[in-house]
């Protein structure tokens, strides 16, 4: 194993180059997991809430990265491409979960219930409320809020990930923030 394999400072350009080389693709996957595994896991987990679902979605994300590596273009930042695949996997999982429910509108409540079940018993109550509020958001608002608030992505990057226009993203983020604040205020008083 080369030293570069575990060097987290390897640039995204180098990883992308390795990803497209059959002899170095395994090394590239290791580096992606080392550098982006945790942020991608948390991005997916915030979307799907349940750990087991996040695990499946992240594994599928990595398999898709491997499968479609030859379609990757250097014009696209590697991190945005990875987040795009992870977001798509999360949305696919949420869609399947919604299909298993009586109504797609029940998805929010189902996710909110999972937040309570998945949260650490010692976790701060406000942190749990924040996740409950996010769980109840419509998918597009949830996606832009998570990417902007937690992953600190710019609207330009979120546009690359979701394909939504920057204007739409700003509007959705604004709505999301207001709904979250309302939910926390309302439930903190209880």
């Amino acid at each position: 194993m080369s030293r570069a394999e575990f060097d987290i400072s390897v640039t995204d350009d180098t990883i992308a180059e390795m990803l497209c080389s059959d002899s170095r693709v395994e090394q590239a996957i290791r580096l992606i997991m080392k550098k982006y595994g945790e942020p991608l896991y948390w991005h997916i987990r915030r979307m799907v809430v349940v750990h087991d679902d996040a695990e499946d979605a992240l594994q599928e994300t990595m398999m898709n990265i491997y499968k479609y590596r030859n379609t990757y273009s250097n014009d696209f930042p590697l991190s945005s491409w990875l987040y795009k695949i992870a977001t798509n996997e999360s949305l696919k999982l949420l869609k399947n979960r919604a299909n298993s429910l009586q109504s797609a509108d029940d998805l929010g409540d189902s996710l909110k219930n999972s937040v309570s079940a998945e949260s650490d018993p010692d976790a701060d109550r406000t942190l749990v409320l924040l996740q409950e509020a996010i769980a109840l958001l419509p998918i597009k608002q949830k996606t832009v809020f998570n990417l902007r608030y937690y992953d600190e992505k710019s609207y330009e990057e979120i546009h690359l990930i979701t394909g939504d226009s920057i204007g739409t993203l700003k509007t959705n983020y604004h709505y999301a923030v207001n709904k979250i604040k309302e939910y926390i205020t309302e439930h903190s008083l209880l």
Partner: protein, 108 residues
Amino acid sequence: MIDLEKIGREMPYKMPDHFIENLTDRVLAEIKPVKKKKNPVFIYLAAAASAAAMVLLLLNPFNIGSMRIPDYENISECKSIDEVFQTMSSDDLGIYSIMTNFYGESTL
């Protein structure tokens, strides 16, 4: 009104220990068979060729091994056609009979 910045970005969930390392191993284990997978057409062709070669070896239709080169030196020294036939092996005689049946004795 609530200030989201004051709530912070901490998560109320936990990620299991060594989760990323274990998942990396699982992903790589799943990738390896895919990577080494050969085109199934070549696999079937190779299997068919091997099977055909085995059948040929077992049936030995050309009687490989017992074939011998005719002894032309002795044949040229033979004084009569009967002597020629005496020098021919049973295989050569078999071939001769098939050819005479097919072409007729006079043409040979």
